[in-house]
Amino acid sequence: MLSEKALELIKELDRSKDGKLPAFNEDIIRKVLEEMNTLFQQNQRDVGEAAAGEIRYFPSIHLRHAALDRNKRCLLAYLYNRLERIRAMRWEFGSILPADIRANLCEPETQWFNRYNKNLASYMRSLGEAGGLDLTQDTKPPKNLYVEVRCLRDYGEWEVEEGDTVVLQKDTTHYLPLAACHHLIRQGVLEQVE
């Protein structure tokens, strides 16, 4: 059946939900484009015939056109949904993606991610009076300025804003300003203790 390759792309995205990103499937995309090209060529030829008065070609032209539309929809949906996922990752992982995810991006997607990063950063800098506002901070209304945190893995020496350094060793607890360690909690280095 026509447009089956294109559906594989969609199925692939559907299978890998929740923060996974399958490798950019250039191979299938090329095959889909080849199929579209063939369909288009055949339609061009038949439209030529039809214009000369051969009405019996109309059904095939119609069918091929529907398949072209479908292929186009699948390809665009594939690209769009991947971008949406990459954007969501910026907010979950922070400005640097883990290496194995980065490896699954294609070149234009990497560029897009870098530009998105830059745009977001300059937008956040432009907010408020005093040099910007970090929107990724305080996703939940904070109760205290300082929180008790426990280290989940060895992270090494880490500098708190005022210049103090703490050694984040596995299973040690610390009392730190939330604003400073928020992103480490989000990234799973620290865990907030109630």
């Binding site: 059946m1 026509l2 447009s3 559906l7 969609i10 199925k11 995205l13 559907d14 929740d18 923060g19 996974k20 055949q42 038949d46 019996r56 070609y57 109309f58 059904p59 095939s60 119609h62 069918l63 056109h65 529907a66 398949a67 539309d69 479908r70 929809r73 699948c74 665009l76 949906a77 769009y80 949904n81 969501a88 990752m89 907010w91 979950e92 992982f93 883990p98 194995d100 995810i101 996703t139 939940k140 209304p141 904070p142 109760k143 929180v147 939330l178 928020h182 909690i185 989000r186 990234q187 799973g188 865990e191 907030q192 109630e194």
Partner: protein, 204 residues
Amino acid sequence: MSAALHYPSYYPSYFSIEDILATNEKVPCKFEKTACDLGFLDPSGGSKDLEVGTKLELPCWLARALASRRQIVSCQLPKTFRERYREILKADAALVDLHTLSPHFYELGQHLLPLAGPEGTTLGLLLVETLRERLRSIMDTSLNTTEDDAGTRQSKLDQLERSLFLTGRKTFRDHQLWLSRRAHIVTTSYMVTQHNKRKFSEVS
């Protein structure tokens, strides 16, 4: 950060994965006009053209495109939406395993409406009544099952019901968190947790 709770596709968007998958379900069709040079679509045919009267299962998107304007094909409803299954659903919709019957039951049903012809009204009513019958127990179980049970409960739901079920569970958990005054606690972001889980399983 909680983005949208679920991603409903009952307002079909051009980019919706759900919608694309739903429109791929097969619909029995009969060709009313000969389609030249497309014989390869019918593997049992072997002739060069698709002759008038060829019966073929076409995906819903193609059936809709061909049936609408020039009426190149005429369509029948897939068997899940025909008289016999309608009776089963009418008898007791809550017990039916919709996921095996048709994983995108409601979604596909809506796409079939323009193809159903005189049966359109019955089909429309069937969709609404089925959901109404089943929604109560879906809501009930989504708020009152343990984590282990949730998997088996889910397995009989169609995609739309599943997203309702998961939304119910999420709001229930959030509510519990708020009641125990733990809603302010910052946790590791969801994607990072998932990502780490995978990494550990690869190492071990």
